[in-house]
């Protein structure tokens, strides 16, 4: 199997992130600063949703169906209580975006983290141990690559729901989603980490460490892992953006979070039903919000990749 050519592993420790070069490159590009600010703003809003959002759209008792489908405040019939209008159930769009971002970000961050841990572990083991173990892990990766993330996530979701007792569904739907998106993304991490590990393990310092009797776990953890943090971080940023979109697409295909606690993706998907009837705000505002968030994360990831790659500086 040919490994995907990913950004070459920069030989840098995470500590050097904030050395003057990177910092300089950061403050020099306004677009990157903007995308960082936007990303942070989203994360903050999501984190502090109960204090930031004007309403709590997840509190069913507070929603009134009679408030539904109101346009944004600057249009005729707009209601001052709802800045960006309301959706088909009477939820405030602005609040639902904020709360939805909370869910979307939670799901995608957790999924990325899950992928990362799984991918790094398997990659390290695969690269370091080699032989049959390596062959098996990489073969599984091949099998998985045969299917797009969406398909895997969809199927995993179906199985997990089938296996678990049904009355748990409402509570665990979100974890199922995390698991499904997470498991569909580990291969990239594993391949990158394996590549770096193969290179590092033959270096003299690792050989030396081995000779003096340091155990493999410590070698992997102390000596090899730090070398792969750069590329892994880059993959993670891009993967975060993809995870957010995957979550939205899964909603479109009907496997997502419960409709009473919509994510941004669910909101877009629901709003799509109202695109032709003129209630564009239900889908367009969350759509813009999602695009801006993903764009910001991507731009930041781009910059990070270039900045971390010493050859490009």
């Amino acid at each position: 199997m040919i490994d995907a050519p990913l950004p070459r592993a920069p030989r840098t420790r995470i500590g050097r992130f904030f050395d003057s070069d990177i910092w300089y490159s950061f403050i020099r590009s306004p677009l990157v600063i903007l995308s960082a600010v936007v990303s942070i703003a989203f994360f903050a809003a999501a984190l502090f949703a109960p204090w930031v959002a004007p309403h709590n759209p997840f509190d069913l008792a507070s929603i009134d169906l009679l408030d539904s489908s109101l346009p944004p405040v600057w249009l005729e019939d707009g209601d001052t209580r709802f800045l960006l209008g309301t959706d088909d159930q009477g939820r405030d769009i602005l609040s639902t975006i904020i709360y939805g971002a909370r869910i979307s970000l939670f799901v995608s961050l957790a999924a990325v983290f899950f992928s990362m841990v799984l991918g790094i572990t398997l990659g390290l083991v695969s690269g370091y141990v080699g032989g049959r173990t390596d062959a098996i892990i990489m073969r599984i990766a091949d099998v998985q690559l045969a299917f797009p993330a969406i398909l895997i996530a969809m199927l995993i979701d179906g199985v997990v729901r089938g296996l678990l007792p049904r009355d748990l569904h409402g509570d665990i739907a979100i974890y199922v989603l995390i698991f499904a998106i997470g498991i569909s993304g580990w291969v990239q991490y594993a391949r990158t980490v394996r590549g770096s590990t193969l290179v590092e393990k033959n270096k003299e310092y690792v050989q030396a460490a081995r000779v003096i009797g340091i155990g493999p776990v410590i070698i992997l953890w102390r000596h090899i892992l730090p070398n792969v943090t750069g590329p892994v971080l880059v993959i993670a940023t891009i993967h975060l953006a993809i995870a957010i979109i995957t979550e939205a697409t899964l909603s479109f295909l009907g496997v997502g979070v419960p409709p009473t606690t919509p994510s941004m993706g669910t909101l877009i998907q629901v709003g799509q039903d109202y695109l032709f009837s003129g209630e564009w705000w239900i889908t367009i505002f969350p759509g813009i919000a999602l695009a801006v968030l993903v764009l910001a994360i991507n731009l930041f990831g781009d910059w990070l990749r270039d900045a971390l790659n010493p050859k490009l500086r």
């Binding site: 199997m1 040919i2 995907a4 050519p5 950004p7 070459r8 677009l31 080699g130 390596d134 062959a135 990489m138 073969r139 091949d142 099998v143 690559l145 045969a146 299917f147 797009p148 969406i150 398909l151 969809m154 199927l155 179906g158 199985v159 729901r161 089938g162 296996l163 953006a241 993809i242 979109i245 939205a248 697409t249 479109f252 295909l253 009907g254 993706g265 877009i268 998907q269 799509q272 695109l275 032709f276 889908t283 759509g287 999602l290 695009a291 801006v292 993903v294 764009l295 991507n298 731009l299 781009d302 990749r305 050859k311 490009l312």
Partner: protein, 327 residues
């Protein structure tokens, strides 16, 4: 070469079997097909009877064994929904998906590579920054939303393009093509663009990254030092060296395009395999679901095999490495 090939083939078969097993295991949990196969007035006894006749009550490994034996002969059973052999249905639907995927791949490559090269050469130019940022929109909006917005704009408001389906198709033997009629070509435009956007962004960014790497290498620097013209360096030296990894990824992405077509086909009611798969998931049409997954795996395995062999032929260094590590 022969032993390498045999080894790869055996591994591929193993991959296929694993996929089949996983695929098959999954379907036991996606719902009960019976209720979609009978009307509301069908009695409980008849439902139970039908379930038994379909073998849905058999132990898991009996069902799986039956599936593998039949699948190896190209038999995937009878679709519950269509009541026709799945192999026949796939043959009928494959041209639609393949034509759409092919056009999308061509679009993605034809636009992605030049844009990637341009953005790499003019790394800090405003146009390449614009390209970079704009291309991100392709992966910042969910495909389904892009599709629906396109339909709304070009289908409903401007009425330039048909809103769904393949238009008129021409039969060439068992292959049905939309390339030969005007309505068929018009129907292809929106789905192909929707499907190509994501891959285009990916290819462009990949080419750019690879190109930047190559431009930093010593031999390019030597070339410059020797006074070779920029054009020659960029296109003869750098691009050529970029192409090897890019071809690999594009090869792999071709498989992904076919699979990604699921969403595009659903939005545009494109009568391909992806749409059939989504309908099958909804109706719990197990034979179609299983066959589709095995098909996708097969396409991937074949592409992979070809790419590997190309590499083997193109790059002699790999022969040693490959043979030594066994993959």
């Amino acid at each position: 070469m022969i032993s390498f090939l045999i080894k790869r083939l055996l591994q591929s078969i193993l991959v296929m079997l694993t996929v089949a097993l996983i695929a098959f295991a999954l379907f036991r949990y996606v719902g009960d097909p019976i209720n979609n196969m009978v009307g509301q007035d069908t009695t409980l006894e008849e439902r139970a009877d039908l379930r038994e006749r379909l073998g849905l009550d058999d132990p898991f490994f009996v069902q799986f064994g039956r599936f593998v034996v039949n699948a190896a002969q190209g038999e995937f059973g009878i679709s519950y929904q269509h009541r026709r052999p799945v192999s026949e249905l796939i043959a009928e639907r494959a041209p639609a998906t393949l034509e759409l995927s092919l056009l999308s791949a061509i679009l993605a490559i034809a636009i992605g590579i030049p844009m990637g090269v341009y953005t790499a050469i003019h790394r800090d130019g405003w146009l390449s920054r614009a390209f970079m940022s704009l291309s991100l929109i392709g992966i910042s909006l969910p495909t389904f939303l892009i599709g629906i917005l396109l339909i709304l704009l070009f289908g409903v408001i401007l009425r330039w393009l048909p809103t769904f389906g393949r238009g008129e198709v021409v039969q060439l033997g068992w292959w049905s093509t939309g390339f030969l009629t005007w309505s068929g070509i018009k129907a292809l435009i929106m789905p192909a663009i929707t499907l190509a956007l994501f891959q285009m962004t990916l290819i462009m960014r990949l080419v750019r990254a690879e190109m930047l790497e190559v431009l930093r290498t010593d031999f390019v620097k030597f070339g410059r030092a020797r006074g070779l013209p920029d054009r020659y360096i960029h296109f003869k030296t750098a691009l050529k060296n970029t192409m090897v990894p890019v071809i690999t990824i594009i090869g792999l992405q071709l498989g992904a395009i076919i699979a990604f077509a699921i969403i595009t086909e659903t939005v545009f009611q494109w009568p391909g395999m992806g749409l059939m798969f989504i309908q099958a998931v909804r109706e719990v049409d197990i034979p179609i679901m299983a066959a589709y997954l095995v098909m996708i795996a097969l396409i991937f395995v074949i592409i992979n095999l070809i790419v590997d062999m190309l590499y083997y032929v193109v790059d002699p260094r790999l022969r040693v490495d490959r043979a030594a590590t066994g993959h």
